[in-house]
């Protein structure tokens, strides 16, 4: 595993979690 790959995957992991939190917050705002 190269460092570039690890950096990319860590970035994607954090971005995925952040996007999910944003999406969940948005869904809550829309639905309630």
């Amino acid at each position: 595993v190269s460092t570039g790959y690890r950096v990319m995957m860590l970035t994607l992991t954090l971005a995925g979690v952040a996007a999910g939190i944003a999406l969940g917050t948005w869904a809550h705002a829309v639905l309630s």
């Binding site: 595993v1 790959y5 979690v17 939190i21 869904a27 309630s32």
Partner: protein, 262 residues
């Protein structure tokens, strides 16, 4: 094809994380809405409802449970298909859920929305949820760190390129004991097996190769020596060898072994 599969796995891995995090967040916020009106609510049914549920609560909580399961599953499967230990990241779903819900229980238990004193039941739930989420997180923090930042050697285990060299090592190991009937010949056999390899540098970089070869070579050698020593002892006991002959034969045998071990 391998690259396409990898890109698809990466996309699915991120999708799984988005589903997981959004489901957890939605359920977390919906739970706060319910706790803010006293901790219980109802909606629908034939009875008059004392405390109606905030809008969207049912969708967010029920959808959150399914989304949590589906998101964790996608992350686990897609992450496991990637080089590294990214499937492990799916385990974050558990502490993520229990710590966030535990936070809600503690916050609203210590300072209830109805303005009363501390709600012991809710605080108990909060502590329980914190333990359920926190203990596995602390115990598994090393594995999780490996998942988020896999060691450089992790690539070989899960990429599609690994199986190709593996059979070659197996062939060498299987062939070796057949050629190696006399103990001393193992060295030349292993050298011969390495020479025709089309890509020696690649073979040298394979981490599993040296230990596998060494153990395969050592096992039959040791058995042979034990057998030979037993035979010598038998010959001495039967009188076919005197003490001096026995000692010399043993030295020769052990001398050969030393050579082979090198």
């Amino acid at each position: 094809v391998d690259g396409q599969v990898r890109v698809r796995s990466i996309v699915m891995y991120v999708v799984g994380l988005v589903v997981l995090a959004s489901a957890t967040t939605g359920a977390f916020l919906a739970m706060r809405d319910v706790l803010a009106i006293g901790g219980s609510c109802a909606s629908g049914g034939p009875y008059e409802v004392a405390v109606p549920c905030p809008e969207g609560t049912a969708v967010l909580i029920v959808g959150g449970i399914f989304g949590w399961l589906v998101g964790a599953g996608i992350t686990l499967v897609a992450g496991s298909n990637l080089p590294g230990d990214y499937g492990t990241v799916a385990a974050l779903a558990w502490p993520g859920l229990f710590l966030s819900f535990g936070w809600n229980f503690l916050e609203f238990g210590l300072d209830p929305a109805d303005g009363g004193g501390v709600n012991g039941g809710m605080v108990f739930c909060g502590v329980l949820f914190f333990l359920m989420g926190g203990v596995p997180l602390v115990l598994g923090i090393k594995g999780l760190a490996r998942g988020l930042w896999p060691p450089a050697t992790a690539a070989v285990a899960s990429t599609g390129t690994a199986p190709a060299p593996a059979p070659r090592t197996a062939t060498v190991d299987v062939a070796r004991p057949v050629d190696a009937a006399p103990v001393g010949s193992t060295q030349s056999t292993s050298a011969g097996a390495m020479t025709p390899s089309p890509t020696p540098p690649e073979a040298m970089t394979l981490p599993p190769q040296p230990p596998a070869g060494t153990s395969a070579r050592a096992q039959p050698g040791r058995e042979d020596i034990v057998g030979e020593l037993e035979r010598l002892a038998g010959l001495r006991a039967s009188g076919a060898l005197d003490g001096d002959e026995y000692e010399r034969a043993k030295d020769i045998l052990l001398g050969r072994t030393g050579e082979d071990a090198r």
